[in-house]
Symmetry: C2
Subunit: 661 residues, 2 copies
């Protein structure tokens, strides 16, 4: 790679593919790939442990393109090194319907795309999860099986986002020395030179967070290689500040924001071809240059062979456990333990807050599943996310399974995405439901990427009492239910909470948000059921005595209130049934027949939830009665809040009676 002509050609192949693909798509971001092509060439050519023939090999180094708009950099490199998933035709269909090469890298579209990026800062924040999962898995399986780096490439945008602070301070605190961040320091943002909005000393900022820093010319392959090699021996996470020219090679637009987010145009592209010494046709990569790239893609085959030899030398049990962990499958012992726990619940019928019930379920879960990686954003004693004997993850041994994420809700959520994507762990983490707003952009990515991440969101309504409106979620159930592929579960008692955890852990295709009460809730489930009713989303928890006149639908802490209302209505001669609706999403997934049966045909339908009506018409109809909130909460003791906001059995009964009459 110090053969400069060869290196230059390899880098220019990236530049040409990027500008050609953006030009063909008439849309995209050529500036970043052209500016960082030299870095990517050295990283993939000489440094990264990545076998193009086995892009899912568990011990590969990870490469995260946090500046996701530069997606053509990633697609070009993956194609050039020979990842079969991305062909030249895929590059030519950049940004078109059904293409693997979407506008921003989308996880699951092709191998080698380690994560979805584009929302700035999150690639970096997920990389902290990747790097932490690597260390934690290493602590369990040793250097022979797990010993790899996480390389991240980001721009100024990622570093200006607040999430970057949470990420780098967490990484520094945890001394994640196998995390290497390359900052594409091109001095340009969309509004112009970066100086219009930033004047900080970025390396000093990283050093203050416990990182080592390095600074290089991002177009000098010798310097790039040296810096990457130095980074490998660091005792801390490393920032490499790489000075680059955005749109390197574009004769007129290089170094300006004009090259950031739009096609260069035919003339500028022609000029770039000349300036770069790249006389080839669009999408043409000469055989010799492609051969150099393909050789780079095979460079790590020997590492993988050696790894396989070590793997095969292990005892069968260790191998099986490692495979299970990587596959993300659950052991049968877990289901046995959970069944025993459920049986105990219907014997004990504990009256506990669902956050407490969650802790009780987690005691069973964590005892049965070594792969859970728990945590909280500094609310451990409130979220009740830490179980007996669970130890904190600390540098340098990483044997623990509980992460003190600090007051970093967004950083926690993004790190959990990284942990889930890395594999080997099932992450869960807690905060107050109202602060899901802080974590929301990462929760959206969990959903978009179909990752099994469990959000333990406690203090789920005005039921938290005196902390008042800033801490009382009102719109959060609706707004989380709005995220496609997010399953929101609001369990009514300890039994439903156990079912909720069972669902969340077995649901491999998406994240789950558990909305849990601060206040105690009586048992509403008295028998062990063969099926998981939470997984069905809604079910009749109390039947009517006779033909029902009223159906009350409720979730979580309001199910008990609904059951009280049933008593009042029954006594008044209005046979009433109660349906628990722990999950709208799961209920929506049921058959029409099941849905119709559960919704029923009672004349009056009432929805009860200490939250907004939004979304409820799907169940109670637009003519249904809703008992809940319509605005922000207030600071007062819980009993008074429920009374003042009219969420009570007597009000339900009254409204239903009026409608019946």
């Amino acid at each position: 790679m110090t053969d400069s002509a060869r290196y230059k050609n390899m880098a220019n192949a990236i530049r040409a593919l990027a500008m050609d693909a953006v030009e063909k798509a008439k849309s995209g971001h050529p500036g970043m790939p052209m500016g960082t092509a030299d870095i990517a060439t050295v990283l993939f050519g000489d440094v990264i442990k990545f076998d193009a023939a086995a892009p899912a090999w568990p011990d590969r180094d990870r490469f995260i393109l946090s500046a996701g708009h530069g997606s053509m950099l990633l697609y070009s490199v993956l194609h050039l090194i020979g990842v079969e998933d991305i062909t030249m035709d895929d590059l030519k269909s950049f940004r078109q319907w059904g293409s693997k090469c979407a506008g921003h890298p989308e996880y699951g579209y092709a191998q080698g795309i380690e994560t979805t990026t584009g929302p700035l800062g999150q690639g970096l924040a997920m990389s902290v999860g990747f790097a932490l999962a690597e260390r934690m898995l290493n602590a369990r399986f040793g250097d022979d099986l797990v010993d790899h780096h996480t390389y991240v490439l980001c721009g100024d945008g990622c570093l200006m986002e607040g999430i970057s602070h949470e990420a780098i301070s967490l990484a520094g605190h945890l001394k994640l020395n196998k995390l290497v961040l390359i900052w594409d320091d091109n001095g340009i943002s969309i509004d112009g030179p970066i100086s219009v909005s930033e004047s900080g000393d970025i390396p000093a900022r990283f050093r203050a967070a416990g990182w080592n820093t390095d600074a290089i010319d991002g177009h000098d392959p010798v310097a790039i290689l040296a810096a990457l090699e130095r980074a490998k021996t660091s005792d801390k996470p490393v920032l490499i500040a790489a000075k680059t020219t955005i749109g390197f090679g574009a004769p007129k637009k290089a170094g300006t924001h004009a090259v950031h987010g739009a096609p260069l145009g035919a003339e500028e592209i022609a000029g770039a071809r000349e300036k770069l010494g790249w006389p080839y046709l669009p999408f043409e990569v000469p055989a010799e240059i492609l051969a150099d790239w393909r050789a780079a893609g095979k460079r790590s085959a020997k590492d993988r062979d050696a790894w396989l030899a070590r793997y095969n030398a292990l005892d069968a049990e260790t191998r099986a456990e490692f495979d299970r962990r990587i596959a993300g499958d659950l052991p049968t012992a877990f289901f046995d333990a959970l069944a025993a726990y459920k049986a105990k619940l219907v014997a004990d019928l504990p009256k506990v807050a669902s956050r407490k019930a969650s802790e009780m379920a987690l005691e069973v879960v964590n005892a049965a599943l070594p792969e859970t990686a728990g945590g909280s954003a500094d609310l451990t004693g409130s979220n009740l996310t830490k179980t007996k004997g669970q130890e904190a993850v600390k540098a340098p041994d990483y044997k623990g399974s509980y992460i003190h994420y600090g007051i970093r809700e967004f950083g926690m959520a993004a790190a959990m995405n990284g942990i889930a994507l890395h594999g080997g762990f099932i992450p869960y983490g807690g905060t107050f439901l109202v602060f899901s707003d802080y974590a929301r952009p990462a929760m959206r990515l969990s959903a978009l990427m179909h990752q099994r991440v469990v959000y333990v969101m406690t203090h789920d309504s005005i039921g938290l009492g005196e902390d008042g409106p800033t801490h009382q979620p009102i719109e959060h159930l609706a707004s989380l239910r709005a995220i496609p592929n997010m399953t929101v579960i609001r369990p009514a008692d300890a039994y439903e909470t156990a079912e909720a955890w069972e669902f969340a852990l077995t649901h491999k295709k998406g994240p789950t948000t558990l909305a849990l009460s601060r206040q105690n809730l009586p048992a509403v489930r008295f028998e062990v059921s063969a099926d998981n009713k939470v997984a069905k989303g809604a079910y009749e928890v109390a039947a009517a005595e006779g033909l029902p006149e009223v159906s009350i639908f409720a979730t979580g802490s309001e199910v008990a209130i609904a059951l009280d209302a049933k008593k009042l209505l029954d006594a008044a001669g209005h046979p009433t049934r109660v349906v628990s609706v722990p999950s709208f999403e799961n209920f929506r997934a049921q058959s029409d027949a099941y849905r119709a049966e559960v919704i029923g045909v009672a004349k009056v339908k009432v929805g009860v939830e200490a939250a907004l009506r939004m979304g409820w018409d799907e169940i109670i109809g637009s003519d249904g009665i809703f008992v809940g909130m319509s605005g922000f909460g207030a600071s007062a003791p819980i009993e008074l809040l429920y009374e003042k906001f009219g969420i009570s059995a007597s009000r339900i009964a009254e409204l239903a009676s009026v409608k019946l009459s």
Copy 2:
């Protein structure tokens, strides 16, 4: 104040009130007020320019309690210095229904509460807006009228949150040297010693962001006073790291997380009284000590008198303009200009993207209103938020009216809250609608605090095309509509966009989110209307020819599609009307009669919006047809996306026809 006994007594009055109020409420956070009582005593006793008799005086220094859980610190001080709004009875009703002393400080509950705090980091981030507004207003009215400091008190939580990074880097960049942040460095977080999750060098971090830093013993009044005086002459924003003991005075719990968020208990309180030398009854403040506090509250009366003299010496026009700016009233010239602009629109009928229409409206707005403070989170050329001749706000002159917020969506939103709360400006700021998720916690506070902040959210649907699912808002309209007191407006053409801006600027009781298209939209309004139809939320934009069989309800870019569908249905013999629904919230606020008339009685109701159905049943009923999205988007050109996701005139017509048959 160097009289140490007097000082000590004043500080202990805060401590006693805080522990007594928390004890009486059986809930709250005594540790922070007890730990920072010395700081608050020096700040309010000797330093801050705040006249308790005139807590709304425009040139007062602002005090922001970013660590809002320590609310009893603020309430105690406001009571002690003599702000009439907070009586001893109010302190005794801490955290009770209807109390001015809510769990966390709530803006509007009592004078002297400058902002709502509690969601961590946001007080600090709003303070950047306060400090910026002060400099910008100073640039317009001079030192005689505007010359004050913003003091912020925060804890580790605020500094761990990502938002703190956006805030401090923006403040450093803008050289807001009248911003003084006191960090309550007590070494404790909820999960235990701060070392469980943080090991950064915080002062170094601030210096890297362009701040000056100082470090003191937070219990030494001489040191506190000296640091605050030094801070006043700084050329940069200042961090004062104040080492404190959380729960100072509590004999067993001080210095531990046990004192953070729960009542101390009778025994510990008795011990604290003894240790502090405070032998008085609960809520008793001896007259002499109260007198010292009241004297402190009168200390700045002379400053206010001097200010009033300067104010009265000004010419009537300047005074009137200053008063108008502080009151937040709009000049009549604005309404005249807007009327002329609307007349021009119906003459020109421009086919432009609504983001472009927003820019056109802003040209009129900014020319008429010197009080707008615009900006964008580094998407100026996409959000189209900067108008001709608008200059960037830059240190040190601050004369400009456009803020390059950088890639800091959350920081921008929080700063806008601070600007609005400070007074004198109407802030607006742009990003992509999908990234409202990043800004959401501050948008919630805009709504909770009833602040006039305008969110310019462009690229409002899959209509943005190739950038793909990470950039395409799907759930965002629903989730923003879910925030109580947030008005979401999705205008259909340039005329509705003008009405939207008119509404947003005249709506003084809450924030407005404008959801604006990337793609061009044809005109759907052809006549000037006397009333603002966007302010009504929904209206018939095209009547049926004959008795309507179908009503189509649509918003924004889908109104034109609905009008095309009407043509198809009309031609097929199904008289169809189209209703534009720019704002669900405004429509909800109309009379039942108006709502019923607009919704109408056509057999088939269809809702059309390139977003989720959630919330639409309120208008189309749960048996209505909805044409929109049900999951994440995709990366492809816009026309193909609308076709593939079935949002088209032909599909609307087909579904309506099937239902009619």
